[in-house]
């Protein structure tokens, strides 16, 4: 690990300003992904601003009947919150399907959204990677691509976003609240928060330099049956090959977001109109335009079958 200077943030705006002033600076909260990447010298910050002391650790009701989740709420605390378990079961289920008990105790809500891909070529610093070193090429393309994206990818990058939580947040129409270095705040809908790779796969979110996540807000509960189904190589503590997060209403309508297939949580609102007609119709629309590789074309069938299992479970 390269050496770095360290400070504890005293206010959100001061922390945002400090990061925007210093190109080598990064925020650190849970640190479970950042420190892993720093040990491998994939991330090489010269200055860390520890935001753990900021007061973003509460889950509070909003005026419109939703919930405001502080950026520093740990994954365990969020999954276990009584209101989340009762009204946003999809979010609890997605969180509990991810990582290990130890990691969930440390990882934060904001950090979970900002975690980097687990593409093995991103992790191998001997390989070219446009995400790690812009312009160097993509070793995954033409490589072993069983775990990679099947839709929304580009000639520069075929990595997936690894978060389970983000799939639930996308299906729940969550928004990401931020503060900028000049003190201005904004709300970014989850649909716009993560980016497709295009020619700039190293730019993964809509956040500007120094912009700090303060909270993630959930709209008021929509009812329905909440299901998160994750298919992976091990029964626990593994990233998704494919995951399906769904909210299904009694009349068969609903919402669905899919993980493990793209550079961001994959949701196509138009495809949800097909839900009453079943998994095949929905998956066909959801994955229209997919460009799988030989190694990962199984994911197309797996999405459809996992969605079929989810819809069957929702019917009870």
């Amino acid at each position: 690990m390269k050496s770095f200077t360290y400070e504890r943030a005293t206010s959100p705006v001061a922390a945002a300003a400090a990061v925007s002033r210093n190109e080598g600076a990064k925020f650190i909260a849970g640190g479970t992904n950042l420190l892993d990447l720093m040990k491998l010298e994939i991330e090489i910050p010269t200055h860390l601003i520890d935001v753990n002391g900021l007061a973003f650790d509460k889950i509070e009701p909003t005026s419109d009947g939703g919930l405001r989740i502080g950026a520093l709420v740990r994954n365990t605390a969020l999954a276990a919150d009584e209101r989340v378990r009762r009204d946003y079961g999809l979010l609890s289920r997605a969180l509990l399907a991810g990582a290990s008990g130890q990691l969930r105790n440390k990882a934060t809500t904001a950090g979970n959204l900002l975690q980097r891909t687990r593409c093995p070529y991103f992790y191998d610093t001997n390989q070219p990677c446009n995400k790690r070193q812009p312009g160097s090429g993509c070793a995954a393309i033409g490589g072993v691509t069983r775990s990679h994206a099947v839709i929304g990818s580009s000639e520069a990058c075929i990595a997936t976003h690894p978060s389970d939580m983000a799939i639930a947040m996308r299906a729940l129409d969550a928004s990401v609240e931020t503060v900028q270095p000049d003190g201005k705040t904004r709300k970014i809908p989850m649909a716009d928060f993560h980016r497709l790779p295009g020619n700039t796969p190293h730019i993964e979110t809509a956040l500007a330099s120094g912009e700090l996540i303060t909270a993630v807000t959930l709209p008021k509960p929509v009812g329905g049956t909440h299901i998160y189904r994750k298919v992976r190589d091990r029964a626990s503590y593994a990233f998704a090959l494919v995951s399906v997060g769904a909210i299904v209403q009694r009349d068969g309508t609903g919402r669905v977001a899919v993980g493990g297939v793209a550079h961001k949580p994959w949701r196509v609102e138009a495809a949800e109109a097909e839900l009453p007609r079943g998994a095949k119709a929905t998956a066909t629309r959801l994955l229209a335009g997919a460009q799988p590789t030989h190694d990962n074309q199984f994911k197309l069938a797996l999405v459809e079958r996992t969605l079929a299992a989810v819809l069957a479970e929702a019917k009870g």
Partner: protein, 215 residues
């Protein structure tokens, strides 16, 4: 990762720097010459102070900011019960409890724990006065080589606390119903602790006994 050639170069550079430092020491101010040599060899370390409580005792440390909580425990406080396995949060050998919650001590910086209260395996029990979980691991042969065991035991103690406080898991059938300590619950919750010897079934038996329910 470095290629073999790179490694040769860095070794030679290191020898040159070390030699220069020894030569300079003989004729000039030792401290100045050494720090100059170190600065040439790598980025200079940044040192920061941190004060935390470990197993009930206050520890005031001055550490390179890069020091993980794991390395602070092992290398600076000489509490070597906590083990370094993968050093990347994948194996759980480094599991300790911080402010009552189990975490991977390899994936957190010591300087981030100003005022924290840390419990390691040394703080759970002693050879003469084992924690019930330690005694159960011995009784049920919940280990072979023992390297993962301190992490397994810290995790296991925390798992029973998590179930008691009503935190659901991936295998809990109902998110809002009271939780039972079943083998399935224990296995899911312990999945962040890898045992290369494969003592899992005995580990589950040990935890089940401490939880006070039949296996």
């Amino acid at each position: 990762m470095q290629k073999p050639g790179d490694l040769e170069i860095s070794r030679r550079d290191l020898l040159i720097v070390a030699g220069a430092s020894v030569a300079a020491t003989a004729v000039a101010s030792p401290a100045g010459a050494q720090s100059k040599a170190i600065a040439r060899a790598s980025s200079p370390p940044v040192v920061s102070k941190v004060s935390l409580s470990v197993n009930g005792a206050t520890r005031d440390l001055e550490l390179d900011t890069r020091t993980t909580l794991l390395d602070a425990l092992r290398e600076h406080m000489h509490l070597t019960g906590t083990k370094k396995g993968c050093d990347h949060g994948q194996c759980g050998a480094c599991t300790v409890m911080v402010d009552g919650q189990r975490i991977n001590s390899c994936l957190t910086l010591a300087v981030m724990h100003e005022g924290s209260s840390v419990t390691t395996i040394e703080g759970l029990g002693t050879p003469d006065n084992l924690h019930p979980m330690q005694a159960a691991f011995v009784k049920h042969d919940g280990y072979q080589c023992g390297y993962c065991t301190p992490g397994q035991i810290c995790s296991a103690v925390a798992v029973l606390g998590e179930i008691k406080s009503g935190i659901p898991s991936h295998v809990s059938a109902d998110l809002t119903a009271p939780l039972d300590v079943t083998a399935a619950e224990i296995r899911e919750r312990m999945s962040g602790n890898i045992c290369r010897c494969g003592a899992y079934s005995n580990i589950v038996e040990a935890i089940t006994e401490v939880a006070g329910s039949p296996a």
